[in-house]
Symmetry: C2
Subunit: 557 residues, 2 copies
Amino acid sequence: MAKAKNILFIMFDQLRWDYLSCYGHPHLHTPNIDRLAQKGVRFNRATIQSPICGSSRMSTYTGRYVHSHGASWNGIPLKVGEQTMGDHLRKLGMDCWLVGKTHMRADVEGMARLGLEPDSLIGARVAECGFDLFERDDGLNPIGYDGPYDPDGAKNYNAYLKAKGYEGGNPWHDFANSGLDDAGNVLSGWFLKNSREAANIAEEDSETPYMTRRGMEFIAQAKEPWCCHLSYIKPHWPYIVPHPYHDMYGANQILPPNRSKAEYENAHLVLRAFMDGPVGKAFSQEHVRQAVIPAYMGLIKQCDDQMGVLFNWLEEQGRMDDTMIVITSDHGDFLGDHWMGEKMFFHDASVKVPMIIYDPSPEADCTRGMVSDALVECIDLAPTFVDVAGGEEATHSLGHILEGETLLPILHGKAVETSRDYVICEYDYSASPMADKLGQGPRDAVMFMVADKQWKLIHCEGFEQPILFDLENDPDELCDLGESHAHEDIIRKMYDKLFRWARRNSQRTTRSEAQLVEMRTKSRGRGVVIGVYDENDVPLELTTNYRGLKADDKRKN
Amino acid sequence: MAKAKNILFIMFDQLRWDYLSCYGHPHLHTPNIDRLAQKGVRFNRATIQSPICGSSRMSTYTGRYVHSHGASWNGIPLKVGEQTMGDHLRKLGMDCWLVGKTHMRADVEGMARLGLEPDSLIGARVAECGFDLFERDDGLNPIGYDGPYDPDGAKNYNAYLKAKGYEGGNPWHDFANSGLDDAGNVLSGWFLKNSREAANIAEEDSETPYMTRRGMEFIAQAKEPWCCHLSYIKPHWPYIVPHPYHDMYGANQILPPNRSKAEYENAHLVLRAFMDGPVGKAFSQEHVRQAVIPAYMGLIKQCDDQMGVLFNWLEEQGRMDDTMIVITSDHGDFLGDHWMGEKMFFHDASVKVPMIIYDPSPEADCTRGMVSDALVECIDLAPTFVDVAGGEEATHSLGHILEGETLLPILHGKAVETSRDYVICEYDYSASPMADKLGQGPRDAVMFMVADKQWKLIHCEGFEQPILFDLENDPDELCDLGESHAHEDIIRKMYDKLFRWARRNSQRTTRSEAQLVEMRTKSRGRGVVIGVYDENDVPLELTTNYRGLKADDKRKN
């Protein structure tokens, strides 16, 4: 099977699945991304593994559920020893590079325990979630009274801005993510009322074009075969975008919020706590939506334009012929839907992401422009890349190591569905103030979502009653059936799926499934004979070393 | 709270819980171990985490369930990065040494991936499950037509025997584990019919006295505080013991097998497959029991005598005053009970182990001689040792790192029960020929046991029906209620416990529970402000770096 040589793995941050025209947005036209979808397969049910940047990404980068890798919230390090797509690809001779964001937090303590120096080749990869760095930029440089949120935030980008004459200590904030009033006052993009402003930066110097150029610079010099994770911070907040994108969209292009009064009033205790948090309250206000959503749309429009720049350049370079291109996101954005902002819950606005895969190989010609309804999880990308890199056998035998599955059979028209009958998403809020609000200790402040094509069940640890949505008859997820007696059977079946998943053997990572099967017939010739009464009860060859031996009597030494 | 200074952690291999007189054996008198029980606490419901050497031990050494550490069968390596009792104790200033067996298989591939050299200090500890080696001896040196089972098996011990004049390539087999007939023929201990013979070795040179001396040699030179894992291979097979132990017990001392015809005929498909395997068939024959059990009892009697030697010496050295002493095992031995041999299932004969803890501190005076009925798991030992080493706070906040709990409160009379309401044991037979026999793939060839004080439920993956025993009314576990309609409610409740356990967050090991709780109030001063419409909506201090800034217009660069 001919395969792509390289992989360009593009991730946007907080890009909601339905804010692209190919996914149905009526006002936000994204012709460049749509064009890629026309040339590849657009997955219509791609589900992230956790509705928060860091944990979602660690799942995508390891091909494993959050419950398996343990980095269950932003700032909880991915433990040393976890294998990443970089580890798997390098074994197959493919380099794996980062240009942009990962949200990786290194397991500094674990590395010290194993004596791994962060500045060694291996240590650096462990610290960077298996990637070699062309440029790491997590895209945020907030600074508070206790100092910066991320000492390396926007480091190279800030240096770039300074070299171009943007002044001050943090031009990332003061220019790229702020507006300016006529009196020369900086209008910080942290404040949502300023989202309407044009960012005070030349468009070409803003973050998305900058990172696109960095991606092209990487590709221009990369040794093949390569996997490049080109990872943008936008359209993630601060929600502010430079001219001309800042006023491309207005009140007429803002979709009404997907929410109902009944939904709020009847909300499950845990969901209600999230709705009633400061973020939910903010985004439930119409003036906030009116300020933020045009900026959010402008940021996405800019992303799409940059995809046009990138794809044209790849075409010129000949890379469209030998490079698999993936576009996806780490989660969505509620934007006021369901009385929520941000992403920390399980409605489609947050847990469904765009996923478009373009495979240049002739085997994929039969699926170009196809829309796939398969139950896909973001953990499928790592095994897909391993498959592209030539690890076909490995993707079939890893199973509990790479928990996702390769999508090449779908991309090549050899399968319509994945082999799973449910998808899983998890959220651990034990380190969030929400846990105090709900009175949950660190063991109980977790939630699990299990969904198939018709049903989505959310289990909140420590609470008896689940949340249940009928995705077929209530695609807007407005009616929670968790209390419905008529759905007891469905609830039980969905819990059975979750239970089956929870029992999976995810930590047996030092042996592949193929090795386990091979072990079944092994060691017969290593001299262990158990339960054998007489040497003549078993074949002679098994006991040759225990027969016909002579010795002196040593009982009294 | 005064605590012991050192820890002597003694493990026997395959020592069945009820083959000690303090646990009720009517004919096998073990006065030395009984004396320790009189001075400490004897736990009556100590449960291993897997009925097979390697996996059980990896749980005990890590303080984590098999489902958490992943080394789910003999020969499946413990993955690099897993923290062990050695890692925890060394952080607290206590050394952690091995004298004897661990059954650890190093994660060679994972170590290579992280650049860990097996001969470096850190690499050696990772390869040896966190122990520093005084002597490692896994106690078996089988040799077949494909070569040795374990190239390092009985290495030092064989050298010792050779130096003492025992000849041939493998005196471990030819002398320590074989008899001799009058014509000078070696009667291999691998064949159960030879279990009646006296091993052809001076008693003092046999394995148990040898390892006892090695333990004393370690202690005599150890830098305090130390934890010493003195880990014997016996009474594990080959079942053969030197004079005078080989004929101390005879037909009158062998207890009748605990089994019934109905139990066999009605056995669950999976249990039946184990019964019908070659080992089950062998031990179901009375002549096999008659040959093996006296030797097994003799081996235990020798172990007890060696405990007498050891304890007397410790007394002389003053170590009884400052050393916690633990006696336990890694699993039991069916010995024909339930139509089974060996240990690979979940009846008490296999999953219940002796556990005696002697704590020299005055706080433990109030519990000397006590028998505890608490639900204890072998994963409780690691946190108990951490507690002894001064990590009291750690044992309360690790939770998902050390999954067991410290037993010091029980030892000190401050608690009667542990905090758990069920114990868990697992068996992964995916790498065993039994998986082929039952037609199970690597993902389904696993079983889970969940038990409380009254009920024991066994779930076999891939099979709808569980096995259920009523431990109160059927302590011999002869009547499987898994099909009983009257017990549907009990079955559901036991499954609920297993489900709750399966959902536990066991991989979030880079942050303790205390750290997670601390994170709830963190990062407010790091400049991230989400969902804030107007700067005046939040306290001034949170946004100082975003206010009052001036800039030039940079929109057209």
